[in-house]
């Protein structure tokens, strides 16, 4: 048995498609990308080697031609004519040989001559210096933009956000305030149904696991009529029923994760909803809507 790469369901080893998600399993399609990578190298190597070979061939053939001309002239002409002919033949050849070298020299000199202009497009050199100057304002503007992006929700929801206080209360809640919760088993998970012994200061940090079992929901009337002021909801809780926090003086609720199925009448009265930054955008929006419904304040929270 192996696992389907798409839905992780267990399927047979030789299965051509997944029975459960109906997707075809093409193992051949995985192979092509490395082939594409391989095709890169020969092209590059050929691209580099061909011009080099071409240049070598031209040089070698040129020299061979010169030698041939020398040999031919040596055989056909007489001794008196040979020096002249050889001189004539060699001179132009030397000239030819020297010309390209001169040409290269001239090219080099031209290059040398052009190099200063290239450096003078040191016109370009000042340009980069101008570019950073142009970029730096962009860089400076970017943070401004980001700050602007972050500020609007604050300006919409709350004027200020004090992170230090949040961190302090969070620690206090974790260390201090003990309370005993009533809960029921829902399969392998746990649902909080009420409080048997309330906390002293009204700060409740709901644990994510009780006896090794996930806390997945807070049931209706679980905290109603209690002294709950500040409540931390763990990431494991997905559901908060209607009237879970009814008739209590709740001022702040902190979400550590996405309580996706929070019902519309879960809270009552004005309170501040703090939503963890780890929540997805969708749920941010959801909590914002929640907050709008209650007349509650919505805040981002770095918890």
């Amino acid at each position: 048995m192996r696992k389907c790469p798409f839905c992780k369901a267990e399927i047979e080893d030789n299965a051509r498609f997944c029975l459960y998600c109906m997707k075809t399993l093409n193992e051949k399609e995985v192979i092509p990308p490395p082939q594409k990578k391989k095709q890169w190298w020969p092209l590059a190597v050929v691209g580099v080697l061909l011009p080099v070979l071409f240049v070598f061939l031209v040089l070698i053939l040129g020299r061979e031609d010169v030698q041939h001309e020398e040999s031919f002239s040596g055989t056909h002409t007489t001794g008196a004519e040979t020096p002249n002919s050889t001189g004539e033949s060699t001179e132009p050849s030397q000239g030819e040989e020297s010309k390209p070298t001169e040409g290269t020299d001239t090219q080099e000199t031209q290059q040398n001559a052009t190099q200063p202009p290239e450096t003078t497009p040191g016109n370009i050199v000042p340009e980069p210096s101008t570019q950073p100057t142009t970029t730096t304002p962009q860089e400076t503007t970017q943070p401004e933009e980001t700050t602007e992006e972050t500020t609007p929700p604050e300006s919409i929801t709350t004027p200020e956000m004090s992170i230090t206080e949040v961190a302090y209360t969070y620690r206090a809640a974790r260390t201090g305030d003990d309370f005993n919760a009533q809960y029921q088993n829902a399969g392998n998970d746990i649902v909080i149904t009420g409080i048997s012994q309330p906390s002293a200061e009204g700060v409740y940090d709901i644990p994510s696991y009780i006896d090794g079992k996930k806390v997945i929901a807070i049931v209706a009337n679980a905290f109603s009529g209690s002294n709950a002021k500040i409540v931390y909801v763990p990431a494991t809780v997905k559901t908060i029923w209607n009237y879970a926090f009814a008739e209590c003086s709740l001022t702040d609720i902190y979400f550590r994760g996405n309580a996706i199925y929070t019902e519309s009448k879960a809270f009552s009265g004005a309170l501040t909803i703090h939503c963890s930054a780890s929540c997805s955008d969708r749920n941010f929006r959801y909590y914002k809507n929640c907050a709008a419904n209650y007349g509650a304040i919505w805040e981002e929270w770095n918890g």
């Binding site: 992780k8 369901a9 498609f17 109906m22 075809t24 997905k238 559901t239 996706i260 199925y261």
Partner: protein
């Protein structure tokens, strides 16, 4: 990711409204495209429609209509097809689920005989004989 059915049922119970539940679990729903599943099974087993229809003891026209999706077969005919294709238990159950029928249930006499037949790779005729022996309705 595959999600346990029991987990989805639990979420269904805890969810306040169906819309959010459906959004969350849309990807885990069974797609009801029976003909697509049948053709995929055919391809994976290198079978021909004509072969399968013959060994499923179905009429040709009806068989092709099932494969093309024009008709949705009743449960017994679908079981005939499953036996004709030589599917294993898991594949048969998935086929039934996809068509919206109940899975084969061992505690029902009819289903248990069909399951036995699927296990032992019986032909449709052999299963029918066994069903008749126990005074039950036959397939096909």
């Amino acid at each position: 990711m595959q999600k346990d059915t029991s987990e989805i049922v639990k979420e269904l119970g805890l969810c306040p409204d169906f819309q959010t539940f459906y959004k969350e679990n849309k990807d885990y729903m069974v797609s009801g495209n029976l003909s697509a599943l049948l053709t995929k099974l055919l391809e994976s087993k290198d079978l021909k429609k004509s072969q399968v229809i013959k060994s499923a003891e179905l009429s040709e026209v009806y068989g092709y209509q099932i494969f093309s999706g024009v008709r949705v077969p009743e449960r017994k005919k679908l079981l005939c097809l499953a036996v004709g294709m030589g599917l294993n238990i898991e594949e048969t159950q998935q086929l039934l689920k996809c068509a919206g029928y109940s899975q084969l249930y061992v505690k029902l006499p009819f289903d248990s005989i069909v399951l036995y037949g699927v296990c032992k790779e019986f032909s449709v005729v052999q299963i029918n004989e066994l069903l008749y022996e126990y005074g039950l309705e036959t397939l096909g």
